[in-house]
Symmetry: C2
Subunit: 159 residues, 2 copies
DNA sequence: GCTAATCCTGTCGGGTCAGTAGGATTAATG
DNA sequence: CATTAATCCTACTGACCCGACAGGATTAGC
């Protein structure tokens, strides 16, 4: 069902590392961070991460400086980047049904209402992932929807 | 991210077909439905569906009668079967992070709050899929959480 | 005993995923 | 101006999973 891929997981963690570097040293202009340092910070495979960060750049979420002293920078403030943006950048749409977008599935007979359920499923995902910014995630300062979900008693249990 | 697999999609549709047969002819005892008829009703590949329905049986969601005039029956009323139950039966856990359950992921440094986000993501999924029964799905009689999600203006739009 | 069904095992091609290899290009710095 | 440190690009691989099919063993109603 939901499988948070290594790509997405690594991408979010790299972005978190970048965000940290961004507001860390007071008011200085942040210096570009190399893939090597990002990989070290979160213990990720360097070459694989390199490919992932390239996707983030193509999606416009980070800017790159080439050459010595080069590296990557957030292209927007961390409170204006949703986690959903990151995941879409590296893994495509948040939800698919057998390769189709949820809203253009169609079914015969008894299953006529099924598309609505898939759409609702996607909407639920969006509420969490597009409702949480990189900045909120880093600080654990959750938006209200997420807080409500986490308050659920069995949220941390298997099922 | 979320990929509703063919297995899950087909499984839900087969269960819907079964549910329809169940309350259709008034108060008669429902007769077992063969895989062939289920496949026809929803236009699904017979042999593949056979394997899927076998999973549903092992999970206890349907009961089987072997031999001539055999087939499958819902093992509980359709309002006591959650869509989430069906999906778990054929595809395993609703959410995983690189093969791990969301609640036992762990991260170094800046990503310390990430597990909570994955857990919230799963909780959001559960709210929709465990909150909707097979019966509600068939009738399009959505629970309040789903209605709220579908009311969202861009719920049916791409992103 | 025929027939219609479940049940089981095995196979298969293609696709995706995580990760690696190797090198071309770019730019700061001494 | 050469060295060095970085991005960038293309290609590859090995493993695994997914959708689907084949063939037959078993069961039970008529």
């Amino acid at each position: 069902m939901v499988d948070i891929s290594a790509r997405s997981d690594y991408a979010v963690r790299a972005m978190l590392a970048l965000a940290a570097d961004h507001d860390d040293p007071g008011a200085e202009k942040p210096a570009p961070v190399s893939v090597d340092r990002l990989a070290q910070a979160q213990d990720l495979p360097v070459k694989f991460l390199e490919a992932i960060v390239a996707d983030l750049r193509r999606a416009g979420l980070v800017a790159s400086r080439r050459g010595a002293r080069g590296g990557y920078l957030l292209s927007r403030p961390a409170d204006q980047i949703a986690v959903g943006d990151i995941i879409r950048a590296v893994d495509g749409p948040l939800a698919e049904v057998r390769g189709l977008r949820p809203h253009d599935t169609a079914y015969p007979g008894e299953a006529e209402h099924l598309p609505a359920l898939w759409v609702a499923t996607r909407a639920a995902l969006r509420a969490v992932l597009d409702g949480t910014s990189l900045d909120q995630l880093r600080r654990g300062a959750w938006p209200t929807e997420v807080t409500a979900l986490l308050r659920q008693p069995d949220a941390w249990e298997s099922r």
